[in-house]
Symmetry: C2
Subunit: 275 residues, 2 copies
């Protein structure tokens, strides 16, 4: 540990050793096993840490690089959150970006109860079915937030939503969109159908989404992975299979773009019905 005067003249301690216990704990959160065990995750970058601090989620710890010069160090201290300053190379080892902004937060995971969403009288949820790409998963959570949908349910071995890349791609929406992880897809579909939900699954051979007459309310939209599409379970349980028309030479869209188009098409239909 070394001592420096920071720009405001205050003496601060800078951690230089990679074997520091807290540093080791933070680094362990880059892996799913330790995230699951500790029920914590890392949110990295200026915007998302700022969103975390404004949310009702519990920030356990803030870590800054020595050369960080933004305002979050003071804000964290004012909020009484434990703040760690580490040397730049050590920060790099905790970061999953190539050019880190020098700030990350360790945040407590939260549990959401699926029953809350299933019991809703109206609404719209997105079910992600085997989405493996953390960037796509996070981007879809961001779109769900923008469209004001009620939540995201993960089935069939999606990538962990608390993966640092996924969290980053949400740009803070992870603190606003309830996330559910459901072990049994069959049970989920049983419960949704019993509660009167309409299940629509995205499928390349489905009905043209713009001509589709459903999707106004109480709709669960199932989105699959870019390479494999939705699972056989989802396909067989869906009331509607819907697709985005392809006019040109390509046979597919990027998974988060396709999800965005379908989510906003359901949003648009819902609003037309209301208005």
């Amino acid at each position: 540990m070394e001592r420096f005067e920071n720009s405001t003249g205050k003496v601060q301690q800078v951690i230089t050793s990679s074997s520091n216990e807290t540093v080791k704990h933070v680094r362990s959160l880059l892996g799913k096993k330790h995230r699951d065990k500790s029920r914590q995750f890392i949110a990295e970058g200026e915007k998302i840490v700022s969103e975390a601090l404004s949310s009702s989620w519990q920030t356990e710890l803030l870590v800054f690089s020595e050369s960080y010069s933004g305002s979050l160090l003071n804000r964290g201290r004012e909020l009484g959150i434990r703040c760690l300053v580490v040397k730049d190379s050590l920060f790099q080892s905790l970061s999953d970006t190539q050019t880190p902004q020098g700030v990350l937060a360790v945040i407590q995971q939260r549990d959401f109860h699926l029953q809350n969403i299933i019991a809703q009288e109206s609404g719209f949820v997105v079910i992600l079915d085997g989405v493996k790409d953390p960037g796509n998963l996070g981007t879809i959570i961001r779109t769900v937030d923008a469209a004001g949908a009620g939540g995201v349910i993960l089935i069939h071995d999606c990538v962990d939503a608390c993966n640092p890349k996924a969290v980053r791609a949400t740009m803070g929406s992870i603190f606003r969109v309830p996330l559910y992880r459901e072990g049994s897809a069959d049970e989920l579909f049983d419960n949704l159908v019993r509660a009167g939900w309409h299940i629509a699954a995205s499928d390349l051979k489905g009905t043209d989404a713009f001509e589709w007459q459903g999707g106004f309310d109480k709709t669960a939209l199932v989105i699959g992975s870019e390479s494999h599409g939705v699972s056989e379970t989802a396909r067989s349980r869906a009331h509607s299979l819907i697709s985005i028309p392809m006019a040109g030479g390509t046979e597919s869209l990027n998974a988060s773009v396709a999800a965005g188009i379908l989510i906003y098409e359901i949003f648009r239909k819902g609003r037309e019905m209301d208005g």
Copy 2:
């Protein structure tokens, strides 16, 4: 250079030296300066190289890693294209992915004449205004292809569309979508307006895109960067400013998702008018 027997029993030469002239040329194409000078670019990965070989674009060279076991080596040889096999670590140095698939193509760039698109009697083009992220740029080209739009025009210092990451994100659409780079945005807008095009620019404060009454035909949609939006020039020249409604807590969408929603909304409106 070493000689090996490959899986089909044929003796093949494997390049092992990073100072091989062809290897040095390919590596130079990772940089924009050399791409501009040689008018060539790299397309990497199984799917996209396969699309390149099926397209009318000229493939100058194929490079394979020693451990590559797909079918493109034989296909390249059958087509009479020069094929190079290099040792895996050397291939890695030519690749911009962390886990390369072991195949890349060097392709001749093509020129498209803006006048062709401006003179069209009907259609839809996308103008990218200062989009710096190669992944977003490539993904938008892919969406433009899917929606059957007529082309993409790059203004105001967009990232090079021949950047390897951008090319990869197009998933092959780069070989189908005409791309134009226009030095003077003012001149472009003058020409479009004179030819009767409607210019719609994406803007957070614009009219709700789903309520907007334009965008059926001969529309040029301007999309800005995720961080800065469209330029002042585009804003001042646009006939319409349009936005995607935000129902939730986030104030923005991922740039390629936003572009996808707007492109397909114009597609949908156009189809409704036709049908």
